[in-house]
Amino acid sequence: MARVKFLCDADRCIECNACVTACKNEHEVPWGINRRRVVTINDGKPGERSVSMACMHCTDAPCAAVCPVSCFYTTADGVVLHSKDLCIGCGYCFYACPFGAPQYPKVGNFGSRGKMDKCTYCAGGPEADSTPAEYAKYGANRLAEGKLPICAEMCSTKSLLAGDGAIIAQIYKERVMKRGYGSGMWGWTTAYSDSPTG
């Protein structure tokens, strides 16, 4: 079975935020929740690079490891999902996540941060696939329809790649060879320490 991953080619990213907008639209993400975001390093200086970052669906997911109620699970494709029914909104997954993926609907009171929300790789959640109940809780389930995440599909420069980890790693390597430079597969050693190259 394919092990899916995200790869953002920082040398192609133009910070257009199409990935962010596409994700927000596809899942009707409310204001204040940011499943995907674009971070620009060395902004305004030579060598400025932008990286589109969301949940990386890590191999040994730290969020799953620290969750006090064990509400996370990994699908056969390697997608890390969680159950909002079990989530107690404690915030531990945010402390552990290297990429800051978990989002909470309320601030200011540990007592009720609300249910954690994060990028689902457009794969929904534990509810039945492609039902209104699943959409209301987790957003669209594109993977069940055989489609890839909408952020990568909408990327204007094809810098954000999503799909089988081996295939997108190969695409990136070919790019680096052809153009002669590459700032790295951002987050891969942190997220996919078992096979950082695909």
């Binding site: 204040g32 609907p105 309320k106 200011g108 009171n109 007592g111 609300g114 929300d117």
Partner: protein, 51 residues
Amino acid sequence: MKVFVAAVAFAVVAAVGVAMVLNSIQEPSSVAFTTSGARVSDPGHNLIGSG
């Protein structure tokens, strides 16, 4: 025994009071993370429920 019951009752009442105060000052993220330039009427309720 009386004193113990009184102490537990006081703790429960205090906790309920604190809960009411804290919940009234809590902000949804749509309010907390909105700058002055944005005008948000309906922040949306998908994914987070109506709460």
